[in-house]
Symmetry: D2
């Protein structure tokens, strides 16, 4: 059955010619990103368990949850956590699997959640102790399906579990690259080695108006490595210099920078933390409230509201189509040199096979003089191939080869 694929010239001008861009990235230690990472790790570990034990993946979606920030007392030189961070993973899963012989196997979903929380925290936030600083919880129930938890139409293309859409585009704009790489730089192992004072909770906001880029950075500082104000000021200065040094290599535009603007030195207010994340002190989080699949929040670009983290990679169109759209856009840019920018949007039909979306659309900014018919056919073929291959995303996601936030 042929797919409903539509390829059009973009109705928007190239991104760099648009007068305004707003771009945000919440770093790996930001509470929203942390929670996304936790539920996605939980989902991946469930998949691995199901595959290992039963040879196939069972129903699950652990794409909700909340993080309620703790309370801390902090000052230059140190501090302590007064009340722990509360993290709760919410969702559903096949909690007990009934085999053909009417024998039940209990799925260790509780253990999987706890291990996932611990692993993410331990590998993400250097100065947070997941044992002493965190209360873990979960609310996971068996889903609405039958006890077997088998996806319908097994062996064939899974049916979309919802009416939902995915969007993706390529390439990143200059501002987007700068915002993304700024956070990557500050959270890199190399930077942390030199500047252990800088925590993982880093938020970068970029505003481009015509040819001017303003970056606003909030970077948690770890109190125990920061004995006093002078030291703090030095750290902020180091952050500033490193960011500027990198940014000027990425753009010819004018770049300005503000770091920890909310500090009020006169009142003794600084972005100091015990652990390196604001989750320690009342900064709460929800799943799906942070970065989109490309690691950015881009209100001036098409965006999906779907939380990709925690959803199952078998039949959840809200997850798969976002990944698919992003990859298709990137492949178009890579393989069709006459396309300068590509926007891909896909809309699922609940209850229909995932490779039969209601529509898959590509909007293209093409180079002057390009043969449109030819470009259009090439791009349509790429989109068609990507949609046809949607099931291959499953393993890539489980293996952690696709970044989702």
């Amino acid at each position: 059955m042929s797919r409903n694929i539509q390829v059009e010239k973009a109705s928007v001008p190239p991104i760099e010619m648009q007068p305004l861009e707003i771009v945000e990235r919440k770093g790996v230690g930001h509470p929203d990103t942390l929670l996304d990472a936790i539920v996605e790790e939980t989902g991946r570990n469930l998949c691995r368990y199901y595959k290992r034990e039963f040879g196939r993946i069972f129903h699950h979606n652990v794409d909700k949850g909340s993080l309620a920030g703790g309370r801390a007392r902090v000052d230059f030189g140190g501090g302590e956590i007064l009340e722990p961070i509360y993290i709760c993973v919410v969702g559903r899963a096949a909690t007990d699997v009934l085999d053909k012989g009417c024998k039940i196997t209990r799925v260790p979903f509780g253990k999987i959640v706890l291990d996932s929380i611990q692993d993410v925290l331990r590998s993400t936030i250097r100065n947070l102790d997941p044992i002493k600083h965190v209360l873990m919880d979960y609310k996971i129930k068996a889903g609405s399906g039958d006890l077997t938890g088998v996806f319908e139409g097994e062996g064939k293309i899974p049916l979309a579990n919802d009416t939902s859409f995915g969007v993706g585009y390529a390439p990143l704009s200059e501002t987007e690259r700068i915002v993304y790489k700024t956070e990557q730089l500050l959270n890199s192992a190399a930077f942390k080695r030199k500047h252990r004072e800088v925590g993982e909770d880093i938020k970068v906001m970029g505003l481009r108006t015509d040819n001017e880029i303003k970056l606003t950075i909030a970077a948690a500082v770890v109190a125990k490595f920061t004995p006093d104000r002078d030291h703090y000021t030095g750290v902020i200065s180091d952050v500033r210099n490193a960011v500027i040094d990198q940014a000027v290599k990425l753009t010819d535009r004018k770049v300005s920078l503000e770091v920890n603007t909310a500090d009020r030195p006169k009142d003794g207010v600084f972005f100091l933390t015990v652990t390196g994340t604001s989750a320690e002190m009342g900064d709460d989080a929800g799943v799906g409230r942070g970065n989109r699949g490309n690691g950015l929040i881009t209100p001036c670009r098409p965006m999906s509201l779907e939380a990709t983290a925690g959803k199952n990679p078998v039949n959840h169109s809200g997850k798969l189509y976002n990944v698919l759209a992003q990859r298709a856009a990137e492949r178009i840019i890579k393989e069709e040199s006459r396309v300068a920018e590509a926007y891909v949007k896909i809309l699922s039909r609940i209850g229909h096979p995932l490779d039969q979306p209601l529509i898959a659309s590509a909007e293209l900014v093409v180079a002057d003089g390009a043969s449109w018919n030819n470009v259009r056919d090439n791009v349509a073929a790429i989109v068609d191939a990507e949609v046809a291959d949607v099931c291959s995303l499953q393993d890539l996601i489980i293996d952690g080869k696709i970044s989702l936030f």
Copy 2:
């Protein structure tokens, strides 16, 4: 101090001329919308309490939370809730207020949360009993501020609490109006009187490709009013007819419609519920995962990811600027007839007064022949006035005069 206001011609063509639109609305009984309503009601009730008791609003943000769906057994003619829906409101608030005489007043935040949950559920879902079907919880801690909980710079324009942006646009497109009004129709008192079988959990997805609009509707059906399959089929047919009747009055485009596409009659699978919301059976929710401020999810339009629900209306730029942008766009359309479409974007500067955003931008689709300079100045004045008046939003929000989802 003059504001950084920028008015430009839109780089996008008019929405009706764009080839593709995807528009979604999650109805008032959808779990995500329910949870947004609950946290916003909690926030408003906190504001009212603070004002009544202390004459001013104290720090709070209750914009996180989760809803873990229950378990139900349902069949034509009836059913029962096996495990209740779990609803947890997460956030922070001034829980104890210390006056100048060093006397503490305990804030009844627990009572406020419970009353808010109960009130929203009772007024939204006719067939849900908030006592028997719901487990309530909350995780609310005192914030990071001092115990007084007073906003900085009281009496003056509050300082933005974060670097965040708001976006808004006007007017709604035809497809957007149809999607919005479809849900409003199905959840109207008049419709419910005639069709009590239709629950409040209604999701409408609209896809426009050129001149064709496809609506996909998922509408929970209340089992106790639906004795058998024939009755169910009749209900679905009634929904279909009502929606089409309304849609054809709103557009000349071709409209097609699918209702409850995920039903599999052969397997006995229907969208039947005890209560009228899928929250009863494992459909979980998070705050800020549903409709944007205009009641829609519009991936082909600029969107903010900020959850507006539950945030304080005093200094939370993520809430106020979204409301502000939306209202400014509407006012531009109303007052400047030469503007066909307006997109407004505002970006805050953390720690700076709310009426001094980093930028407030309007992009306009103007009528041919309009005098651009004149339009620009008029619109700039409107945006300037709206930004200057940002504090007036506070009371409108508390009084429930502004719809947020």
Copy 3:
């Protein structure tokens, strides 16, 4: 198989001749008693459900839990609940039942817990609103047994699930009767009609030294019916008079009385409540921490530490043997007039039929001149018959015909 029954003369003198007695009763509105009532009601409702749906009772024990008191603001004339009372039922149950056709039935244990909490609160505390004043929760998991949840050896005498003992005695001493009836009086419908100010949280402590009885009563007073100190003083005076009036009819000993001794009028400290129970303000509770099966706490008498509330009435020796011992003691007194006092103790053997305890012992205070051999044989026969009939307790308990606290 003959039972190991041992009948001896008591090694203690008659209770009224002992120099010291300490007797306590926690009234129906005391947090510990409330929680016992809630878990027992939950257990009974589970039994009824299992019997109704499946024709037999499945494994369960819901004999743990906690009640974390709320916070209230109270003053003469009224007050309000600031934070609700948190009640959590902890235990295990057959949550899903697998029939022979390998079909699963989901047990509505969540609903059963919630209904039980609501029912107990509503029928016990007149001025508490279980919707506005209480957070409900539960932690109930499937037990360690197989999924069927069937008790071993069905159709036969169930096997004791644990090594545990039960104790009982009869008759009550004079002091015990006075303590018991004091609470019954103050919580009677007749008394409440006249004195609506008196809450249900009433604790009575009795101390007898030789021929003097001192009663200490703590009685919650409902603030909204008590406008001022004078009124309060009048209420306390009414309590005092009613208790004394009744007590003098029950004893010739000297009785003295103290009510709400912890009040400190000078500091404005009174036992005032919004709801009539101290659970509203930080008085926490655990299951099995209150009255024993005869409604009393009697450190000068043999006591079992087993919580009877919430345990299953099928195979839990800790529950059944306490009930059995109490009933056997009462029957001995009733049927064998030569016995003045009877103490019965039974110890189970885990894994053995309930009618085959490791030992069932009766210690008797006999009238002078009684024929011991004859008494001994009669009593042994009574104990034997009661033990043989242990399974009949099941229905009596489920039907609420046996008081457990």
Copy 4:
């Protein structure tokens, strides 16, 4: 003011001459004992914190809580925890301390609870990983007192916070010693070194009828050290031999022994565990449901129902009087050689100084020929001195020098 002290000859015969004794000890790894240890450790750590930071102890009582058992899959040779053990500490404490300058200090009660849970588990159960196998929680609110949390009458003898009684006796009977030492032996470091298969969850029940003692032992076996049935049988045999070897040195009575009677080898049912405690698999617990202050449950002896664990050691008569009664009884036996057995009971008067109980009573079994008047006066003096010195218990308890379970 002179104290109300009453010394009498015991109305009961010496314990060894009574025909029946039932004695139980729940070992350190039994869920009830674990939970008692956790709340007591929490209380002690709160005391230490208050003293260190503020120079005095503030109001608190953390004597409630629940432990909801997990789920495990276990077989000879190993197993895994499927769902963690849930542990919740419930109580109240001064959570924020307001000093004279109207400055608030936040008490790290959350951290204290978590550290206490972790420490107890780590030091008690060798094969339990408190990070992977446990969900921690707490429900601790500020108490009903004022914010300062200061105990009334500071600097003087504290006032009893409740009407409650304590009981104690000495010396232990032969059966009691055997039961106690049996558990101590099996949980000793020496025994564990040789028999690492034996878990910490050990329950010993002793029944003495005249001159025969029957011990029933339930001992969790750690699966990973127990490859098969033969090995298991060997472990049980080792337990049996060790217990008998010790018992015969402690008594001349006939001792018989049953270990893990609930095993049903035919059905493959053994007391195998992953961790060494039944808490891993649905065995729930409550505070105050286990051993009394002398480490035993003794229904044939006077017992208090008061949970001593978790209560504050400043003004909680339910805690202090149990400790006091036990110590007074032991001192009587030690210092007055003519007393063979001593039972001490103390009843508090709420709102009165702790050294002014309503009554302190000693009942004595005295040697034949002893001069009663002299004995009575000596014992009265001992009891008087102990009561007078009640405040000295505070530090002993905080320093962990008094065993409570």
